[in-house]
Symmetry: C3
Subunit: 139 residues, 3 copies
C-alpha cells in the first residue's frame, strides 16, 4: 500500500473565505502515484472546513449569508468561548455545519468526481496562516 | 489491497426525498469480496447527500420540515445562486447540513453497523437522474 | 494491510454531553501497530456524533446552547418521530448537524493532527449505554 502526505498552507484575506483547492489536491494525487484508493482532505484547524460543492460565486455568497444568519459573529459577548479572549466562537460553529473533512475515491489515478464537484477550503476565522492536510492511501 | 467501484443511479419523484440504499451498498460489499476495510458512499451531485440514520417515516418528515425551515426553497429570489437561472440554492445548503458522504467500516465481510444504522440517499433537488458512488478498499 | 477494530462504550449522565475520546483513540492506534493509514471513528448510534474540535468548556456550552436553539427538545409533540413513543427526534437532528464520524490520517504512527484538534463523542440522547466504533486500516 502506498501512502502520501502533504500540508497545504493558506492565509486568506478576510474572516470568511472559500478557496478552490481542487488543483492542489489533484497535484498531490499525481505526486502520490496512487491509482486506486482514498484521499482524505481535512482542515488542521478547528475554525475551518474542507467541503465539496459548486465553484459559483453566487452560491458562495449564499453560504456566507446563511451561515452568518444561523451563527452570527456579533455580538461576540453571546458566546462563552469568547470569554477566553477569543472572538471566534461563531467560526467553531460554522465549521461544524460545513464539516471538517472530505474523503474522495481515487479510481484510475483520478479524483472520482461527479460533474460539478470541487473541493474548497472554507475559512471562518482567517487573516492568519492555517493548514489543510492531504493524506492518500492506496495502490 | 482489493478495490471496488460502482455507481448507483436514482431518479426520485419529488424535490426532497430520502431513499434507503443499505441493500445496494451491502450488495456492492458482497461483490467486492472485501472482508476488512472501508467503504466510502458519496453523492456525486452537489445538491444531494448520503447520510446514516433511522429508517422511520416520522423522522424523515421531521428532517424535511426542519431543513425547509432553516433553508427555505422559496422565495427563490433570496439566493444569489438562483440569479444564474437555477432555483436550487436551498438544496446546496441542505446538502451541506446533511453531509456529502459516509465512510463505513467493513469487518468480517459485513458493514460494521450499530443496531439502527441505515444508509440514505438524500435528495434535495430531485426529479432527474443522479448518481451515488460506492468505493471499497481493503483485503 | 493491517486492520484493527474496537468498540468504546459510554454511559453519559445527561441528555447532551461531550466526552474527549482522544486518549482512547490514541491507545487504539498504538495497539494496532499501524504507522501509515486511516482511522475511522464513528458513533454506532443515530442520536450521537463523533466530531473534532476544541476541548474548551465555554465552546461546549456554546455548541449545546446553539444546537438547542436550532433543534429544540421541547415541545416533543412538534416532531412526528416522537409519535412512535420516542422523545429524541431533536437528538437525531443535532447528530446530523455535528456529524456521525471523523476520518483521521495516521502518519509516522501518530494521529496526524493540527495544534488544537481533539476527538469528541457527542451525545444528544444519553443516560444509557452506547457505543463508538474505532476502525483502523494501513501498514
Amino acid at each position: 500500500m502506498k501512502n502520501y502526505r502533504k500540508e497545504l498552507w493558506f492565509n486568506v484575506p478576510s474572516r470568511m473565505h472559500f478557496t478552490n483547492i481542487t488543483p492542489d489536491v489533484t497535484q498531490c494525487l499525481n505526486e502520490s502515484g496512487v491509482k486506486e484508493g482514498l484521499v482524505l482532505v481535512n482542515a488542521m484547524h478547528i475554525t475551518a472546513s474542507v467541503f465539496i460543492n459548486d465553484d459559483e460565486s453566487g452560491l458562495h455568497h449564499d453560504y456566507k449569508k446563511w451561515l452568518e444568519a444561523i451563527a452570527p459573529h456579533e455580538p461576540i459577548s453571546q458566546y462563552r468561548h469568547n470569554d477566553t479572549g477569543e472572538d471566534n466562537a461563531d467560526a467553531h460553529i460554522k465549521r461544524q455545519v460545513m464539516g471538517r473533512e472530505v474523503v474522495i475515491a481515487i479510481s484510475n489515478g483520478k479524483l472520482d468526481f461527479g460533474p460539478w464537484e470541487q473541493i474548497f477550503y472554507g475559512e471562518f476565522d482567517g487573516r492568519r496562516k492555517k493548514r489543510v492536510l492531504v493524506k492518500i492511501i492506496g495502490d
